[in-house]
């Protein structure tokens, strides 16, 4: 027993080493990791770093509207005289919240459906998978757009809308995993001992099919962020005075040729965050892809 544990520990350490090696080899993954770390810090400490925290909550001072970026206002001020830098910092919180909540919601719907279908098979499986096919066959952005129109504009509704259009991807992956795990001896054993189906699904199949789904979920964070900011840009998401990046870009767009900074900096924030998520996701795929791993051994 003890020996077994020790072997397991060594295997884990080797995994970690390999991961570190791959990260070191690709400077891009490391860049992504650093940006991500900085963004998380900004999200946590926004009220302390932001020079004008009250501006992020909507306090207006029209007398200094449309000021060029300067020492006092790093990113300039917007049409209500609010400090764009502070608002962008606070926006990090909203964006992270949206990305993480959407992916979690989608996982919450997608994972159990895929696992249940994959394990039980038969008619239920057929039903779940056909439903998934239908959802996957129309463009997710469009679906999210329609749901947003139905639910009305707000950040919560954007999160619901994107999650509803996103879960089928996870169902598909979880399903494939569950089907392959179903035939493994330890499941047979569990069945033979007389453990209930529910327990087998949630205690044995689900944890074992989690990894690839989670990897996909991490890689999706960037796309979710882009989709949500696009919806806000269309006016279907965050509402003023929320410091949401997409919304700020949209409002700033009206003053593009007179005050370029109003829309440029919030948009830049979206790009940087999405880039960090995608760089990390890409690196993660390399770490976990058996083909790149084989090259290194």
């Amino acid at each position: 027993m003890l020996k077994c544990l020790k072997e397991k520990r060594i295997a884990q350490l080797k995994e970690l080493q390999l991961a570190l090696h791959l990260i070191k080899k690709g400077p891009l993954t490391l860049t992504g990791l650093i940006i991500m770390g900085l963004l998380i810090l900004v999200a946590i400490f926004a009220p302390y770093i932001a020079p004008y925290p009250q501006d992020a909550l909507g306090a207006a001072s029209p007398e200094n509207k449309f000021e060029l970026p300067s020492r006092e206002h790093l990113f300039g001020t917007d049409e209500l005289g609010r400090d764009i830098f502070s608002r962008v910092l606070f926006g990090t919180r909203i964006s992270f919240k949206i990305a993480i909540v959407v992916v979690l919601l989608a996982l919450l719907i997608g994972l159990p459906l895929g696992v249940i279908g994959g394990f039980l098979g038969g008619k239920i499986d057929e039903l779940i998978m056909r439903l998934t096919d239908i959802f996957l066959s129309f463009p997710s952005v469009l679906l999210a757009l329609i749901i947003c129109v139905i639910l009305g504009p707000s950040i919560d509704n954007v999160m619901i809308a994107i999650a509803i259009s996103w879960w089928p991807w996870y169902t598909r992956i979880a399903h494939a995993q569950a089907v392959s795990i179903r035939e493994r001896p330890f499941i047979e054993a569990a069945k033979a001992v007389g453990i209930s189906k529910t327990k087998i699904i949630f205690r044995h199949i689900m944890p074992n099919s989690l990894t690839p789904v989670l990897v996909q979920a991490t890689m999706d964070l960037g796309s979710v962020l882009l989709t949500s900011s696009a919806l806000s840009f269309l006016g279907l998401g965050a509402q003023p005075p929320q410091p949401e990046w997409g919304l700020m870009t949209y409002i700033g767009h009206g003053y593009l040729f007179t005050s370029w900074w109003c829309s440029t900096f919030p948009g830049l924030a979206i790009f940087v965050a999405a880039l960090a998520f995608n760089l990390l996701g890409d690196g993660l795929r390399d770490v976990l892809d058996p083909r790149t791993r084989r090259l290194l051994r």
């Binding site: 129309f138 009305g152 960037g222 882009l226 979206i270 880039l275 995608n278």
Partner: protein, 340 residues
């Protein structure tokens, strides 16, 4: 036999999709507080006028009957009448669709022309600076918010450099003095075949920025795909053999290897066509490009539900067909894939 069967089954799947999409959007009209009739008759209409319009449009009937009539209408090619333009939605779509298709097709071509060489270079110089930078470009391309980069391009090329028009499809002056004969609806093609050189130049200048904005995503896709496939192919025996025969490296790369690595890139490109049509929504809005996305976003804001359902159904159709074409092509090219 197998393939035919598969295609039929996939096409049959279109029916439930259409029902769900149209149903969802039909629910919209009941849930949203705004009454579409106000749009139809205008804000100063009397109660009597509103009632007359309600009966005229069949909105006094129960919802299930309205839905039934709509579905029957679809089979007759009738998508209802737009509440904003007061024209049949199918006519509106035929007006706006060519502009979108022209934009997306141009973007796809740019994606291929730029993405392929970058992918090849990336694979040839694996883990060198060229590889890292093209990889960064690819990931950057898919991380850029389209609406933002569109704005930056406008700022740069219109305001600061001043060589490209800011938005629209054609300048007013050109539209009046050098009208384009309508043949395909693609301005670039129409003006070229009728020899309307001035209009062609103007249309091309208007197309560059939106097409480039829209192309960033496909460029990223193609670079990544080409790189992966080239790396795989370059390690094959026949490439080593070709090198051993002393065939020039350029020929080995571009003739022997690329030929086998190009298919997956092409298929991802076709796959992204449906995605790009929805991506075009934002680009068309920013560049005031009179396409389907522009029409759809105006319809969404105005709650013009017949137009929303119509456009949604059409884009869904494009999307599903693109996916189907890709699956069939892939199975045709790679006998290891079995369609079932």
């Amino acid at each position: 036999m197998g393939v035919k069967h598969y295609i039929i089954r996939r096409l049959l799947l279109l029916i439930p999709i259409f029902f769900i999409v149209s149903l969802i959007t039909f629910v919209v009209v009941r849930v949203v507080p705004a009454d579409p009739l106000i749009l139809w008759v205008g804000p100063h209409a009397t109660a009597e006028q509103i009632n007359r319009a309600r009966i005229e449009l069949g909105l006094d009937k129960p919802l299930y009957e309205q839905y039934y009539r709509y579905i029957v209408g679809i089979f007759h090619g009738n998508l209802g009448i737009s509440f904003i333009t007061h024209r049949p939605v199918s006519t509106d779509i035929m007006t706006f669709l060519p502009a979108s298709l022209e934009l997306v097709t141009t973007a796809m071509i740019i994606g291929l022309v730029v993405g392929l060489p970058l992918g090849v270079i990336s694979a040839k110089r694996k883990d060198k600076i060229e590889d890292h930078s093209s990889r960064l470009m690819a990931i950057g391309g898919v991380s850029l918010p389209t609406f933002w980069i569109g704005m930056l391009l406008q700022l740069l090329f219109f305001k600061y450099i001043g060589i490209l028009p800011v938005c629209g499809r054609l300048s007013w002056a050109v539209k009046v003095s050098y009208p384009i004969t309508h043949i395909t609806g693609f301005y670039l093609i129409d003006s070229l075949i009728t020899g309307n050189w001035v209009a062609f130049q103007d249309a091309a200048a208007h197309t560059i920025l939106p097409a480039l904005t829209l192309a960033l995503y496909p460029i990223g896709l193609v670079v990544r795909m080409t790189r992966t496939c080239m790396l795989e192919v370059l390690g094959e025996d026949y490439i080593r053999a070709a090198r051993a025969y002393g065939i020039p490296e350029k020929v080995v790369t571009y003739t022997y290897a690329l030929k086998n690595a190009i298919t997956p890139s092409l298929t991802t490109l076709v796959l992204s066509f449906g995605y790009s049509l929805t991506g075009a929504f934002l680009v068309e809005l920013i560049f005031n490009w009179p396409g389907l996305g522009w029409y759809a976003s105006k319809a969404t804001i105005g709650m013009d539900y017949t137009a929303i359902v119509g456009v949604t159904l059409l884009i869904t159709l494009f999307y599903v067909l693109a996916n189907l074409v890709v699956d069939v092509i892939q199975a045709y090219l790679d006998p290891r894939i079995v369609l079932k």
